[in-house]
Structure formats: C-alpha cells, structure tokens
Symmetry: C2
Subunit: 260 residues, 2 copies
C-alpha cells in the first residue's frame, strides 16, 4: 500500500430526518466518478447521521431541572441547554463560567457540550432554537450504513462516523471517531518488534481516530459542506459484524485516565 486517496463526496443535498444516507453517499461516489470497492472506508460527518436520525431537540419544549438551573447560573448558559447537556451525559468533567462545558457523554466520549450542535441547523425565523444530539448508537448507525452499502453494491467497506473534538493541551479541533463499523478502531501493536527487534511497548494506534482526522481535513477544505469522504488504499483488515467492537476500544476506562 503506497497510495491512499481521499475523495470528497461533494454536492450532497441537505440531509433531513428519514433520508437514505446510503443512497446519498452512493450518489456522491457516482458524482465523483467512482464506484465503491472492497476495503474502501466511508467517513461520514456525525451531523448528517444525526439529522437523518432526527436527533433534534427543540429548546422550547425543554423544562430545566433545579440542577440545570443552578449550573446554568454558575457557568452562564441557558438552563434549558444545560438540561439537555445533562440528559446526554454521565458526568460533568470540567465547567467554567463563560467557557464550554466538558462532559462525559453517556456513550463514553469526553467532549465539549456533549457533542451537541448549534451550527448548520436551520433556524427558521420566529421559531425557537433547535439543538442536534449525537446519534443514539453511533456504532449501530455505522454498522447499518455499512450493511446498506454492502447490500446495494456488494462491497465490504468500513464506516467511520466522525466529529470534531477539542482536546486538552492543544488548540484547535481534530476529527475524532464516534462510530466505527467493519474495521478495527484501535490496532494493538504491543509485543510486535520494531525494525531492530526491540519489543514495542506502548503502541496501540488509534486507527479510526486517524482516519477521522484525515477525513476531517478534506471535509473542512471546501466552502460548501462536504459531509462524507471516501478513503481508498488503506491496507486494513475487515472485521465481521459479529466480532466488531465498534468505537469502544478507543474509549479509555475513566479509572485508568490520568486526566479525569
């Protein structure tokens, strides 16, 4: 494997609840002059998966709890937004007035605002604000997409659903995997030897996160939104559905995390 291609699936229409993502992606691949093949990896922005799954919440219908009122007052956020944050999360990891709230999402991700999006959501004049949550089960969403692509094309592909996360220590967001299907999210190289026969010690590679970051680079380049990327040429082992742990191998056990 000496060459990897990342092909932007541009020109996709706005995605709405119930839309057929597999169909939209296959249309995008056809517009790019490609056909899907075995071993390809399709990276899809979390936002369009959530939209297709109708993961919208209308703020107008949210009644904040006393805890949400208290935290909202402390950090200077709409208590209804805090209520949604808390309902999506297992715990608050860091919160500071005027800053983002870093949450441990129930799905195991540590992320700003529990991954809830405000931007690129249609806000009609006179209507209340809408939020967009993560998919209920991003690994399941990824598996369903991989299965639909397989059914329609015969191709065995990997699917990564990515989002942009901030991180400690570094400025700027990076693409990160929130759902994975068909490929190993993490590759364990411990026990392998390096070029000189030294045993490698700490070498679990966050493969799906590197794929997510690579695709994010392509998604972020265009003026128009590019919500999906086809990656070709990666030499990856494909996992059967019954031995596919999804994104979980990338989630550090909180008890083993030096930064919680």
């Amino acid at each position: 494997m000496n060459r990897v291609s990342m092909i932007a699936l541009a020109g996709m229409p706005m995605v709405g609840p119930g839309d057929d993502l597999a169909g939209l992606i296959l249309d995008g691949i056809a517009r790019a002059g490609e056909t899907l093949g075995d071993g390809d990896v399709v990276v899809v922005a979390q936002k369009i998966v959530s939209k297709a799954e109708n993961r919208y919440v209308d703020l107008a219908g949210v009644v904040p709890s006393a805890e949400a009122e208290r935290i909202g007052g402390e950090v200077g956020k709409d208590p209804r937004f805090v209520e949604v944050l808390l309902s999506e999360s297992a715990s608050v990891v860091r919160a500071r007035p005027g800053g983002v709230m870093i949450m441990a999402h129930k799905l195991g991700f540590v992320m700003a605002n529990a991954g809830i999006d405000h931007s690129n959501i249609v806000q009609e004049a006179g209507t209340e604000e809408r939020l967009l949550l993560l998919p209920v089960d991003p690994d399941g969403s990824a598996r369903a997409l991989a299965a639909a692509l397989k059914e329609r094309t015969g191709a065995t592909v990997g699917v990564v659903i990515n989002d942009s996360f901030g991180r400690p220590f570094r400025v700027g967001t990076c693409g990160v995997a929130v759902g994975v299907a068909g490929i190993a999210a993490a590759v364990d190289k411990r026990g392998d030897t390096d070029l000189f026969g030294n045993v490698l010690r700490v070498t679990i590679v966050g493969q799906a996160d590197e794929i997510a970051a690579a695709a994010s680079l392509v998604m972020g380049q265009a003026d128009e939104g590019v919500p999906a990327v086809l990656m070709r040429g990666l030499d990856l082992a494909m996992l059967p559905a019954d031995a596919d742990p999804g994104v979980r191998p990338l989630l550090r056990n909180p008890e083993e995390d030096l930064f919680r």
Copy 2:
C-alpha cells in the same frame, strides 16, 4: 479540491546523523514516480529528523540528579532516564508508578516521556542504551527542509514533522504535529458563518494535527517503516517564511488549559 492523495515514501534507507533529509525525501518521491509540486505537503516522522540531527543521548554518560533519583524511585524508572526526561521538560504533568510520565516538554508539547524514543534505535550488543530526543527546534527543522526542497526543485511546499502522541480520554496514539513550516498549523474560522448564516463560535481547526494524523495512518500501514509521506491536493494557503508561526498556534497556553 475534491481529491487528496497520500503517497508513502517507502524504501528509504536508515537515516543517520548528518544525512541529507531533503535528498532522501526527493529520492523517495522519485521512487514513487512523482515530482514535488507547489502546494504539496511533505510529512516527515520526527524520528528521522532527530536521527539526522544526531539527537542521541547515551544513557551511560548520564549522571542523575538527586531529584531524578527520587522520582525514578517513586515511579520505578531508571534515574538516568528520568534525568534526561527532566532536562528536556518544563514540568511533570502526571506521573504514576509503573506508568508513563506525562511531561510538559520545553517546546510546549504535553507528551508521554517528553517524546523520548527507545524503539527503532540501534542498540548494539554490549553497548549501553541510547535514547533519541526531539529536534532542538522542530519548526526550524521543518523550515530548513522546506527551503532545501524549494532550492532543489523550485516547489513551494509545506512541511509537517509528526510524532505519535497518546491523549487523555482516548486509547491509542494519534499522529500530532511537532514542527510546521509553510502552512498554517491552526486555521481560525471564528466569525465565519456556517451554511445557514449562524456565526461559528468555537472553530479553530488544528489543521497541521489533522495532516499529521492522516500521514501517520500511511506511515503505520507498512511492515517496513515509512518515515515520510507526500500529501497532494490539499487546498492550503502557503505562508511566507517571515509570517510563519510554525507549530505554536496549536499549543494551548497552560493558564487556559482546563486539564493541567
């Protein structure tokens, strides 16, 4: 920009002190059947930059300080290794017996073991262990490489020196930029509007880190080491050398960091 190519510069000989990295990279590009062009980005593994710059330290010549002796005893590491760690670092961020030491490197990176490598360093029989440190000035190394490539080919290219970092919250390493030249490490999109005219709030993108992660994916795929990757097709603005902040825009001010 609808297609990005990542081309592994494979078959490179072992790099040693004083080697001409620009020449080795151009040889690798020629072996891949390519020629360097304006706007290309060359991603180089930190390890070969450090080797070319002879950033080896022989453990046998290291005399540990009392502090290094104390910390080494506490965390179960060779005090001479701890001495080198401390001399490379501004502070210890986290340390735990039996675990890695997370250090704030003097260059501003928060990283395990201050980025010091044991693996893929020739350990001759009967000789003491050697360590390999980060380049003294990775941005300077990147700028020098970009200038040498420009001088020999006429092409204006970006250079990213990458390393693999562990991270909080997630398992597995990801490629991260430690030196940048010719392109913006971080892209500030605050104030831009999204597709619906909402103003984007927190949207500094860690572009050079996404490039580093993408290249790491290609570097890690081969059985043999692939220490450099040519990326083509990214639509990046090129920065003149006199307005090039290098990797610094990616380094979060410790006072603004919620996780230190």
